[in-house]
Symmetry: C2
Subunit: 206 residues, 2 copies
């Protein structure tokens, strides 16, 4: 799980309970959405009583917000790590691979995010229009530079980034569908690694 607020709790027991609540909340919110989740479910998953849960967080909304705000940074880290000085094709391929890795390692976080965006992002619009947009514009400019220098193919940089999001997050967000279609024998993420390597190699080759 994402470590949201390492400096928050004072005592050991507080730290442990806060941690348990956020872990449980991630599990429940990502699977049910904000309104679909109940404090009962979260409390039970965290091994606490409902009032005790509300001793640590003032409201359901506060728990959700804590998860979301902590998630944004983690979510953007791979894109932030894309190095303007690096080798263009390797930087883009590595970004894609890190994103796919995140889908595999943190599918619940991906679904939490997806649930929120799907419903109009009522609780994180500011983050999207702020940090997210700024970072994407900055990296899009870098990618455009690479394209103009002939290092990669001339593709729209914003949509290149969208395509990386769409393709990698699909394997986390639509996991049940992917597995139902492929059947129990196949390994979605391993195959996705191969497939997406091919796809993006062909897309960005100059």
């Amino acid at each position: 799980m994402v470590d949201i607020s390492p400096q928050r709790p004072q005592t050991r027991i507080q730290r442990r309970n806060t941690e348990a609540i956020l872990e449980a909340a991630l599990e429940v919110f990502s699977a049910q959405g904000f309104r679909g989740a109940t404090l009962d479910q979260i409390a039970q998953a965290a091994g606490l009583s409902k009032p005790n849960l509300l001793y640590y967080f003032p409201s359901k909304e506060a728990i959700h917000l804590e998860l979301l705000s902590g998630l944004m940074d983690v979510w953007l880290a791979p894109l932030r790590a894309m190095d303007p000085e690096g080798e263009p094709r390797a930087e883009i391929m590595n970004y894609m691979r890190r994103k796919l890795e995140m889908s595999r390692e943190m599918p619940r976080e991906s679904r939490l995010f997806a649930n929120e965006i799907l419903q109009g992002a009522p609780r994180m619009m500011e983050g999207i229009e702020g940090d997210l947009r700024t970072l994407v514009d900055e990296k899009a400019a870098v990618i455009r530079g690479w394209a103009e220098a002939g290092k990669i193919a001339a593709v729209d940089p914003h949509h290149l980034i969208f395509s990386i999001w769409a393709l990698t997050q699909h394997y986390a967000d639509f996991d049940v569908q992917v597995r139902a279609v492929l059947g129990p024998e196949r390994d979605p993420f391993a195959e996705a690694g191969q497939f997406l390597d091919t796809l993006f190699e062909r897309l960005i080759a100059p």
Copy 2:
């Protein structure tokens, strides 16, 4: 909106109200998810009282189910239309374009579907494991044949289909994020048309 059950109502007023309820329900369910939606919201959007709404449908679940079951066929129509006798590259490109068209014309239906899958598809697993999987396997076999005949590049047919879903549906499901990042001046779907043409041309070129 999708015309779900044209033969259902008897009188004109019944037809009109049933239609209004399904239209309103699509609006609300797609934006809020199943549990997030309330009968009050749907009733208000349909211009009816809550008891009157429940005169036409026995329960909230029944309305949702009616939407979902009608949607599956519409959703699969473009893939079903892919012709094994057609020109391989054109067939795949046209499938992708029809899917993107559906994302633009029916974003609410796309989000209804996405909400359901994200939450584990509790109300449509049978459809996914049945009709959907059967159709995908059938078309994947066709695509595999094309690849083996050298008509298109050798890519995994299942993941090719997933990539079409992921990339086209992304523009409907994550619409608010796409627009927030691109800004108000740009036209996401027009640009996506260009970008995805390029992407899939390069991916499947032999």
